[in-house]
């Protein structure tokens, strides 16, 4: 198979020896607790350019797409809480298998709100 063109002004391929993760696959992936309970779906991924483009956090929502339609904006109902996205630091991610993100077991005294 032909090697994909790697375009880099500096010339060499960008770390081709490391297996890569497609961040587009991460967006939309289900987020699960270690016990398999659904936390929501990844709606966006935060990257820190000043920290070597580190993936810093996942933005996760259960029904976050509803919030994008601005239908519940301004309401003080529980619906707004449900649609509000949550930020989960990447340090809490145990693994990503291509379609599912599994979170780490919360440490003692650090309860995770699983019912969001």
């Amino acid at each position: 198979m032909a090697t994909p063109t790697t375009t880099s002004r500096s010339g060499p391929p960008v770390e081709p020896e490391l297996p890569s993760i497609a961040l587009a696959d991460l967006v939309g992936a289900h987020v699960l607790t270690p016990r398999g309970r659904r936390v929501g779906k990844v709606i966006d991924v935060e990257v820190r350019p000043l920290e070597r483009f580190r993936v810093a956090a996942l933005i996760v929502g259960r029904f976050a797409f509803i919030g994008r339609f601005a239908l519940v904006r301004g309401t003080t109902s529980e619906l707004e809480n449900v649609t509000r996205p949550r930020i989960i630091p990447w340090s809490e991610v145990e693994r990503f298998d291509g379609s599912r993100v599994v979170l780490r077991e919360p440490r003692a005294g650090q309860a995770r709100d699983e019912g969001a």
Binding site: T7, E15, A22, L23, V47, R48, R52, W90
Partner: protein
């Protein structure tokens, strides 16, 4: 490797965090204002210490097929054999806005060849294109 502080976006006052959805499907534009494609995907690697870093912007039908379904990715790769797959290091990003501006000139990136081919082989024959048929494409823009 670009180190913190070297990234040109920092000089432009870009906020400390980027969202991947701001980058995906973004129009890439070079320093000489040429549009060279849209971001189909962003590739990241996992460092030995567990940190995941975005490393490349991917452009082309193979990465795009993976957006429809990851299962399509190997199939399309087998058919197209990487001929239309292009990668640009994320360190080339100068600015993220309505368009994603790159640090280099269009000649620095081997993308946009399809447009070049159409201009060189088809548009040059259309009367009124403003240039003799033998003129190089680059002069036209």
């Amino acid at each position: 490797m670009t180190t913190p502080g070297e990234w040109p976006g920092a000089e432009k006052g870009i906020r400390g965090a980027l969202l991947v959805r701001d980058i995906l499907d973004g129009q890439l534009e070079t320093r000489d204002h040429r549009k060279v494609g849209r971001v189909a995907d962003v590739a990241a690697v996992r460092d030995p210490d567990g940190t995941v870093r975005a490393v490349e912007l991917r452009i082309g039908p193979e990465a795009l097929a993976g957006r429809i379904s990851p299962r399509l990715r190997p199939l399309v790769a087998k058919v197209l054999r990487g001929r239309f797959d292009h990668r640009i290091p994320v360190t080339e990003i100068a600015e993220v806005g309505p368009t994603i501006r790159l640090r280099g000139l269009s000649d620095d990136y081997a993308v946009g060849q399809a447009e070049d081919w159409v201009a060189r082989h088809i548009l040059r024959w259309i009367p009124g294109s403003g240039r003799p048929a033998s003129s190089p494409l680059r002069e036209r823009y």
